[in-house]
Amino acid sequence: MSEKIFHGVPASGGIAIGPAYLYHSQGLTVSRRKLKPEEVEPELKRFQEALAKTRAQIKGLEEKAKEKLGEEHASIFSAHQVLLEDPLFTEDVARIVSSDHINAEFVLHEALEKFKTVMASLNDEYFRERGGDIRDVGNRVLRNLMGKGDKEELKKLDKEIILVANDLIPSDMVNLPTETIKAFCTDVGGKTSHVAIVSRSMGLPAVVGMQKATMDIHDGDLLIVDGNKGLVLVNPRPHIIEQYRHLKEEYVAFQKSLEAFKNLPAVTPDGRRVTLAANIETPLELDEMARHGAEGIGLYRTEFLYMNREENPSEEEQFQAYKELAVKTGDHPAIIRTLDLGGDKFLSHLNDSEEKNPFLGLRAIRLCLKRPDIFKIQLRAILRAAAYGPIKIMFPMISSLSEVLESKVLLQECAEELKHEGQVFRSGIEVGVMIEIPSAAIIADILIQEVDFFSIGTNDLIQYSMAADRGNESVAYLYDPLNPAILRLIHMTVEAAHKAGKWVGMCGEVAGDPQFIPLLLGIGLDELSASVSVISEIKKIIRMMPYEKAKEIALAATRVKTSDEVFEIIRDNVPAELKAILF
């Protein structure tokens, strides 16, 4: 029992201590058995039955996934069906069983292991990752052969465990017994992978992207999973365990203290009320939202509907997704951002020419206005869904007035079409634009005449203002939210909106960074929208930060020359009890 530490991606916060439970390997110890000649026929029949059962299961999973996770998550299972018809399953195993008189599970297991080695050695990440699909299908056949059922044994777990797996794909997550799982560790994945999102919604710690955890962790190893730092400790020494018990208690206490804020409004001690909303990337996160006390959705991204697929989503499919949003957010507003693809989120079937400079190219509203046929499908779906709840619409990447006007014309056209068709929809939907290009901030006073609200997208606003790609390490230092140039653009935007009697929010990452909250409050933002997991913490900060003091900070920040000075102003002017938390 040697002590080991693995580093991975911190995908869901929290600390868990408990025994490891290896998901795929469990119960799949395959032994070799020589068959008597008369056993061969029954063995072949048994194998065929296992294949038939697997076919039926995959079909069932496909339908279940369609229903629970959506069409795009389900398409993976149709590929699994083709995999299952591979000659390896349909010919090779039967042939070797007949010729060598060896049991089918051993033959299949050997063949799968060979594939696993080959796939793992591939240089291309895409193809390497497909090894997981092959294992998923292969192990399913093995389980059926061995009478293990459809991963049933997991449901029957009677003790608490930490689930360790190479990957947890949608089919796994559909059936998990959540009562006995304390944390997740996976070899693959990132912050937005399926397991990350689901574990956050279940409030369980998760570390993903651990490279080879499943090879080095064994069933029953004692694990500490630190989902805040992305660490997994295997068989740690007793004093380390003791330390982590403490940390865990502190963390739980901290979370508990945040829970107290869940149902309280985001209001400063001196009465300034702001709206604290959530940024939502996939519908799976909708259930997390209420748990963290978000007041609606400040940014509902719609890209998930368009990604990883060959054809565009239909109006009906989009309508259903937006309607679910309207229903789940209840009386709180939900701001749907229209398609923001191009640039980093490259959509192969919409964008037909390769661009030298995709971030300065045909993306977001530009792409939509060039393809009104595609854009109008989304606008119609949004208008129809808005009949079910207070949905607002927001256009991304606006750089000029004409884009706002053109978008509004299209929206109006859609409304008239729907009216003509006798469809149920909401007329007079609130329309806003993202302020994320410097030109838009500079003409904010002009744009606000045409819209109901602004939402500042800091990630792009900073990148475009500083002309620096923060993904590029050599220039990432320029990506600095406190740079006076950025602060001026934010001030201009807020002032323009308030002068026109309208509200302005912020939905970039800056709005989710606790240290910036006092400054943002002082600048006068009416709404902050951040990822679900930080909402309680931000609410706590708002409730500790007097608005008058925040305004002083914002004013002082306009009078200095560097971001270091701005940082010092925030640090030295927040109340002492807040300083202890933030700095």
Binding site: V82, D86, P87, L88, D124, R130
Partner: protein
């Protein structure tokens, strides 16, 4: 009859899972056995798992060897599939 022909992967995503599944479907329409040679690898064109191990990205040249009564038709169909980028736009 045995026919050999070199085909070039020209679609953007390469011989990814869906494209490879299309290839399997086409190969399965013919009686002939089709083997793909790539470097030291030889895989059965009717095996999706085999195709995955090729990890053939855009620009990869694969040598197809069809052996059987309808080898000529099989090669023609495969050639067309590659030229049409497996039905993908780019």
């Amino acid at each position: 009859m045995k026919i050999t022909e070199k085909l070039l992967v020209i679609n953007k995503l390469g011989l990814h899972l869906r494209a490879a599944a299309e290839l399997v479907k086409v190969a399965n329409k013919f009686k002939s056995q089709t083997t793909i040679h790539h470097g030291i690898q030889n895989v059965n064109a009717k095996s999706l798992m085999g195709l995955m191990t090729l990890a053939a990205a855009k620009g990869t040249e694969l040598e197809f060897e069809c052996d059987g009564p309808d080898a000529k038709e099989a090669i023609a169909a495969l050639k067309q599939l590659f030229e049409h980028r497996f039905g993908e736009k780019e």
